[in-house]
């Protein structure tokens, strides 16, 4: 008999169309929070990954303007360490001024890179637009220029005109920069061998790359091969902290051998740690946003409370009948809370689906909004990256779905108690 009562009661609840409203609300809040958390987390991860991808997992970056001599030796020592997959040297110049052509001068950052070895640490070749095909010749100095240095993306589509970009390949350009120990600026003339597009605004709009040997000779003639940064890629799954300790050991030994008094263990750091402060701020902003939306979404509890209370009030006679058939007060209460949980599960299930679909297709949605409304929501110059991160972060999804289910159950709790307190004898009497 109890099973029959349970079945009847569940059937009554399922027949109330207004329950769909609560499922829709839970789904909407859940979907929205999943999209917001995934986009924000994706953005933070993209910032972290862009550092690893462009600078390696661990960086030896001596304090001040110290230069590492004989870096080949250091790299071969580093590559003997079991957690190190590859390492490459970089010689940087803090600032430069690039004359690209008539009326076109840009402030840039200059990196000397090992063109051959760099791919093992950062996919440099993959970033090249490949608009080459111009025979530059082996005798002249060459360089690679960020796509944002030579062109501006379209204001609406945020896409570059690759024909315009291609016109710069093979062009002779002049760059001026300064070096330590000399009051006179250094002037470098080189031909653009190719254009680099990493998808990271900071690199694309500011950086010029040259072969490190060429740049060393131009900036520090006669000083041999020198670098001021060693970028290291770790083997997959390596513990970063342990790896940093091992690399510090190699760096210390190298410093002793080469009598580099200034070499310090603090020169070795993970690229993630270098960005930790900024990432911490982003996480804080994300937390605030989630808190605000979470509080507003708390309205769902009120909504479910109202809907379930409405059900109790309109179905009070049915509840009384079921109770008179033998279902106890606690049974009725459990049934309502259970039904609240069902609403939460169904709502969060739909919400996850909506959130997943929205996040996965966010670039298509943004492209559609851009073309249909002429409103470009995402610009690489504003948000650092050329594409919107579209990865769903399931850790947040579980939390959000869990919170939605708990919220639904909470909303159903008071109506459940009200239903359990229904006295059949009072409700069902004739008068």
């Amino acid at each position: 008999m109890k099973h029959l009562s349970f079945f009847l009661c569940f059937k009554y609840l399922c027949r109330k169309k207004i329950v769909l409203l609560s499922i829709a609300s839970v789904a909407m809040c859940c979907g929205l929070l999943i999209v917001v958390s995934s986009l924000f987390s994706g953005f933070i991860a993209a910032v972290e990954n862009s550092a690893s991808e462009n600078m390696g997992d661990v960086v030896i970056d001596p304090y001040g303007s110290m230069r590492v001599p004989d870096y080949d030796e250091l790299i071969s020592e580093l590559e003997k360490v079991d957690v190190v997959e590859a390492a490459t040297a970089v010689l940087s110049s803090n600032g430069g001024l690039l004359f690209l052509g008539k009326g076109n001068v840009r402030a840039v950052l200059l990196w000397g890179i090992e063109v051959g070895r760099r791919d093992a640490v950062s996919p440099f070749s993959k970033y090249l637009v490949g608009s080459g095909g111009v025979d530059i010749g082996d005798e002249v100095a060459v360089g690679y220029v960020g796509i944002g240095v030579v062109a501006k993306p379209d204001a609406v589509t945020d896409e570059y005109d690759y024909d315009e970009v291609g016109e710069f390949v093979g062009r002779k350009v002049r760059l001026t920069t300064a070096v330590s120990g000399s009051d006179k600026p250094r002037r470098i003339t080189f031909h653009i061998a190719d254009i680099s597009q990493t998808g990271v605004h900071q690199f694309d709009s500011n950086f010029v790359y040259m072969p490190i040997e060429e740049l060393s000779e131009q900036l520090y003639p006669g000083k041999g091969k020198i670098a001021d940064m060693i970028q290291i890629k770790l083997v997959g799954g390596a513990d970063e902290e342990a790896a940093v300790d091992k690399i510090r050991g190699v760096w210390r030994e190298f410093g002793k051998k080469k009598k580099l008094d200034w070499a310090s263990p603090l020169d070795v750091e993970t690229s993630r740690l270098k960005q930790a402060r900024l990432i911490g701020e982003y996480r804080k902003q994300m937390g605030m946003l989630m808190l605000i939306f979470g509080v507003v979404s708390g309205g769902v509890i009120l909504l479910i409370f109202c809907i379930f209370y409405l059900i109790v009030m309109t179905k009070i006679k049915d509840i009384a009948i079921i109770k008179s058939c033998g279902l106890g007060s606690s049974g009725v209460a459990v049934l309502f809370v259970f039904f609240g949980l069902v609403v939460g599960v169904a709502g969060s299930g739909f919400g996850i689906l909506i959130g997943w679909l929205m996040t996965k297709n966010i670039n298509a949605v943004e492209a559609w909004v851009s073309s249909a409304l002429g409103l470009n929501l995402w610009k690489s110059s504003t948000y650092m990256f050329s594409r919107i991160p579209n990865v769903v972060y399931w850790d947040y999804v579980y939390w959000i779905a869990g919170a939605a289910i708990v919220a639904a159950a909470l909303g159903a709790l008071v109506p459940a108690i009200a239903a359990s307190r229904v006295r059949p004898v009072r409700i069902l009497r004739y008068e």
């Binding site: 207004i18 409203l21 609300s25 909407m28 809040c29 929205l32 917001v36 303007s65 110049s93 803090n94 600032g95 430069g96 001024l97 004359f99 052509g101 008539k102 009326g103 076109n104 001068v105 840009r106 402030a107 840039v108 950052l109 002049r174 001026t176 920069t177 300064a178 070096v179 330590s180 120990g181 009051d183 600026p185 002037r187 402060r277 900024l278 701020e281 804080k284 605030m288 605000i292 939306f293 509080v295 507003v296 979404s297 708390g298 309205g299 769902v300 009120l302 909504l303 409370f305 109202c306 809907i307 209370y309 409405l310 009030m313 309109t314 409103l375 929501l377 610009k379 110059s381 504003t382």
Partner: protein, 449 residues
Amino acid sequence: MYKLMLATRYFFKRRINLLAMAAIALCVFIVVVVMSVMIGLVSDFKEKNHSYSGDCVIHSDSLVGFAYYEDFVSELEGEKFACGVSPVIDGFGLMRRPGYEDNIGLQIRGVDPVKHSAATGFGDTLYYHKDNPEKAFENIYEPNLPGSVIGVSIIYKSGSFGEYDHFPVPRDLKFEITCFPLNAKGGLARGGADPTSTKVFVNSDDTHSGLVKVDGGMIYLPFDEAQSMFEMGWPIKRINSIHIKFSKGVSADEGMAKVAAMWAKHVERNKDKTYANLFDNVSVEDWFRYRREIIAPMEKEQTMLTILFAMLGIITVFVIFVVFYMIIGHKTRDIGIMRSIGVSSWSVVSIFLLFAGMVGVVGSAIGASAGCSFLVKINDMEDWLFENYEWQLWNREIYAIGEIPHDIEFNVIAVIVACAIGAALLGAFVPAVQAGFKRPVEVLQVNQV
């Protein structure tokens, strides 16, 4: 009268409407706080850009600039509608401190400090010469060398609340500036092995505009020095932009129309002269269009936030819908009696809409009051959190924000409250119409009673 009386009676007698009010109050509170802060940030950012640009800017898209500006500047200075006119040299350069290795690429801006302070808010951004901008480029260390005004973030680190601790006098710093001078055709003005122009400037003041790219990447030089460094003074004098401030009482549209007309005439007068082709790259824009690329993303974020809140606001509409559905469900007999004594259907609808309006007004008033109180104390709360837990909403060492904006914008609050009342009416509309069109004969039959 009976409508108001009945609506008031329902409002005070039905406790369930407290839920609807709570939903409205919560939503209004959050939206008032978040939108006030966001709008404050955007308005502050716009105001800083306005101050940086002046009211109107005539500027060239090319670093080569344009010529024949002197007559035009004099002509503008004679006009009553313009109270400040400042010709400006813009370009990129490399800055290095002699004896130091670090060099940074930055934007160079050559200005006459008096003219530029009259046309823009430049004078107010100075630290040492706020009251006497004419001395902005007078350095106290080496009178033979020209002074410079550098972005504050380049030489100072900001404190926990975005403040900069200055010395009593400008720091004794020299900056070696290198640039590529361009000729009027856009090519390098200097041939040979060294196409660059280098000069040393002494720090005479710093500028704190509140704009990251200006404070962290710009140096102001004396107009003549910049024109000479960029070789824009020969064979014909060139500049990159003219910044204009309109006199009080002159509207932006009126001023813009006058400047545009004057500029068109000026171009026409000089169209046959050498280098007149440089006018092709020149635009006349108000400050907002001139800085649109920088302002637009913040406005977009504000729009996005508004859309997200509107989506979440739908839940409040649902809550009100359900609450009224319940209330009306319990008032069927009253409705039946009212209808049977001659009250029209729409009068019944209006009673419940009036009731919903009261719920909306009271809920949004509570939410708005709480929001305003929170805004008034928001900076104190942040200070307390920082002192006790070292927590800040925005780390001022990273973000160029001073205080959290806490101005109570009554226009904004009025819009939010109106939207909340609208949401209450919207949520109650369907149940109210259902109530209004109930047939008394069905409602009052004995088995319903």
